[in-house]
Amino acid sequence: MSERAAASAHQFDDAEQQHDASTLGMWVFLVTEIMFFAGMFTVYVAYRSLYPDGFAHASHHLDVLLGTINTTVLITSSLTMALAVHAAQLGRRRPLLIFLVLTMALGSTFLVIKGFEYAHKFREGLVPGPWFSYHGADAGAQQLFLSIYFAMTGVHAAHMVIGLGVLGTLVWQARRGRYGKSYYTPVELSGLYWHFVDIVWIFLFPLLYLIGRHT
């Protein structure tokens, strides 16, 4: 099977309208994702305004170097994803596969580094709950910060895992020759999702890792 017929669903006038509708649908989903993360960002803003010092001190528990490396890894994965969509638009199957696999490799690298960071927090007793072993002056606020850290980076990592599954499906379909110049909508929409996850991290990095560096 080569490329699928361009205009497939009968409710659309043409392939262009179908493509625009798919893009719009994906953006509507991403807006609900914005609101999903917005709830957690609001919790962060509210509690940071109440405990500015505790939050700044607690951010010292995070490794700025690993955070910076992970930011770079994720931005690079966004570039390779954009190049994958570009290859799909031009109907180049080999570059498409290479860039998709590269994006998956970078995404996996991010998760491995995140895993090392989590493991370190567990060893140091910085996981909120009964085993939280930091008992400084602002231990309560610090525990609150770390709860938000684990919730937000955890949900973000879950999105990365889902993204890897989506990309794996794309690789499988691209190998079967499913995408070509006239039909690459799934590649493009998966790209939108991947970039969205990157944007969430663009905000998480300064808000979690960098707030206490100058104090």
Partner: protein, 99 residues
């Protein structure tokens, strides 16, 4: 197809700018600017997000309806945060006027 094929050169330019902005935000966070630290960090993050949305996510080349949906998403985001903060930041004031 209506889809605009963005030249690869633009992707690499945006990528370079994103990396430079990441370096700037890390360096600036080490300098004590008081309250301005948060402002600078957020300004850089917003700039990076806008670049990703416009170029990597092709919003620049999308239909007006898509622009509207995306803008509406951010308007509701700001409503959520602003109205929550009008509550959180003014609780002390209300307690004072009750006595």
């Amino acid at each position: 197809m209506s889809e605009h094929v963005v030249p690869v050169r633009i992707y690499f330019t945006i990528f370079t700018v994103l990396l430079v902005l990441t370096a700037v935000t890390v360096i600036v966070s080490g300098i004590d600017l008081g309250r301005m630290n948060t402002v600078v960090a957020l300004a850089i993050a917003v700039t990076k997000a806008v670049l990703v949305i416009l170029f990597f996510m092709h919003l620049r080349y999308s239909t007006k309806l898509t622009w509207l949906v995306v803008s509406a998403g951010f308007v509701w985001l700001s409503i959520l945060i602003l109205f929550t903060m009008t509550d959180v930041l003014t609780r002390g004031l209300v307690a004072l006027t009750q006595h």
